[in-house]
Every structure is written in C-alpha cells, then in structure tokens.
Symmetry: C2
C-alpha cells in the first residue's frame, strides 16, 4: 500500500502581477466553477512545484521559517513547503470572479504555481475559532526554508 | 503544462472502528509528527480512492448531496468527492495522539482511505468566521452522489 502512488493533474495556475494574485482555471475545467460566485471565500490547493524534489520530499523535520532558533519540527506540524506531498493549502477571500479567473487575497505562492483543486470555504465545517497551537515562531531567518 | 502530472504518495491510512476514527501514519513518516501535540486541531488531506476513476475525474458538475432538487453545481463549488483531483479536506479535532496514531473527530471517510497530508490548523489563517455561502443544500437523496 505504501508503495502505491496517485496522479494529480493541474487544473489551473497562479498568476501574480505586482501585488495582485489571481487563479486562472484552465479552459478544460471551466465548467467546474458553476456556482462558486455564491461563496465569499475558497480553499485553494496548490502544488509547491519548487519543492517537488526527492531530497525535499524525504525531509521530515525542519526549522520553522528557516530559523534555527525555532525548535526542530515535524513537517506535519508545520505549513512548510517541504513535505512528502508538496501541497499548499490557502484559505482566501474572492475579490472578483470573471469567467475562469478568480481574483483572491491571501495566497503566498510563486507566479506559475500549479493549482490542483478549489473548494468552497464553508464556515460551519472550516472555521474553528477555538483551535489552539503553540506561540508564534520566530520569523524567517534567511528568507528560505532550512533543513 | 496542462498535460503534466504530479505524483502523490500515501503517508498513512484512515482507520474506523465503530464510531471512532483514527489516522495511522506509516512508520516511514513517523518523524514528521514531531511537535503536532502542541495543536488542538489539524487539517487532513485524504485521497478519495473510490472516486479515482477516469469518468468521475472528468465529471465537472454534480447535484450536491446527490439530490437533483439541488441546483447543478460545478465541483469546485462543492465538497463532492467527484472532482478532477479527488482530494478531501477535513478540519478536525485531535482527541488523542499516541505515537503514530492520531485519534480525531470530524472525518467522514471510508476505513482504509489513503491519507496524503497532515497540516496544523492555525486559527489566524484558517478560521474565517465572516465567510459566507449559499443556504444549506437539501440533504442526500439516495445516499450517493448523483451525476
């Protein structure tokens, strides 16, 4: 079972221009957007293509924010792009929706990053104001993730 | 670009027993859990293996909850397992964490479903109480997703 693998297809791409970020859904998948205009927020799954390298996918612990003053942490307890399956998840606000272009706030990803799924953000199941975690980590040390 | 694909490896599996649900992380990935005990909630990404079929992955619109009284909706505006990349996302509470077993509340997935990623739920970025959507859909018609 552990040796199985599954295949993911990009359904769109991140476009960044100056400070604005949008998601372009490929024409082939445009029909999948019907009704999305009824939501204010979405969940966006992105493939961290820069981290899709064997060595990074085998790295299981990192210093959060690439800062060695933070405690060494398992990647399942961080949002690091370094992880076995380099999937990023962003909860973000739709600022405008025109045809196959979704303009959003709150996505920190490279221009050209492959988008692999869009889901509506449903407050009843996705918003957990009582969730707790450790105190904030120290900020990025060098602007890159250390291993 | 649209013809590219990416490879996903299962990192664990859903175990259901009576009403209790747990995630077993495979031994190979156990080190990735370090520090997860500091969080109360996690985001769990699961591969909907029952929907990993060409016909379902090419279905772009569904009747939510499999009820034809609901409006035909694009899969990116639903949480249906029918979608181009059959990834499920659950925000859930950790009820207990022992070694590589995470006991959780709030996952509705089949026993044996492959787990592909675990992320900490971070209230500051993941909880959006102001998110809005359409009114609740009518409930399941036949207990299965219609196309």
């Amino acid at each position: 079972m552990i040796e199985n693998s599954f295949q993911i297809f990009p359904v769109g791409v991140i476009r960044k221009k100056d400070q604005s970020v949008s998601i372009e859904i490929y024409e082939k998948y445009g029909d999948a957007l019907l009704g999305l205009d009824e939501y204010t927020h979405i969940l966006v799954l992105i493939w961290f293509h820069e981290s899709d390298r064997k060595m990074l996918r085998e790295t299981l612990q990192v210093y959060p924010m690439g800062n060695a003053e933070n405690p060494l942490t398992g990647v399942f307890a961080t949002r690091s792009p370094v992880r076995p399956n380099p999937i990023a998840l962003f909860s973000c606000k739709i600022t405008a929706l025109e045809d196959r272009i979704i303009h959003v706030e709150g996505i920190d990803a490279f221009d050209g990053s492959p988008v692999i799924d869009i889901k509506p953000y449903i407050k009843r199941i996705d918003s957990i104001p009582q969730a707790r975690g450790p105190k904030l980590m120290k900020p990025s040390w060098k602007g890159v993730e250390a291993k």
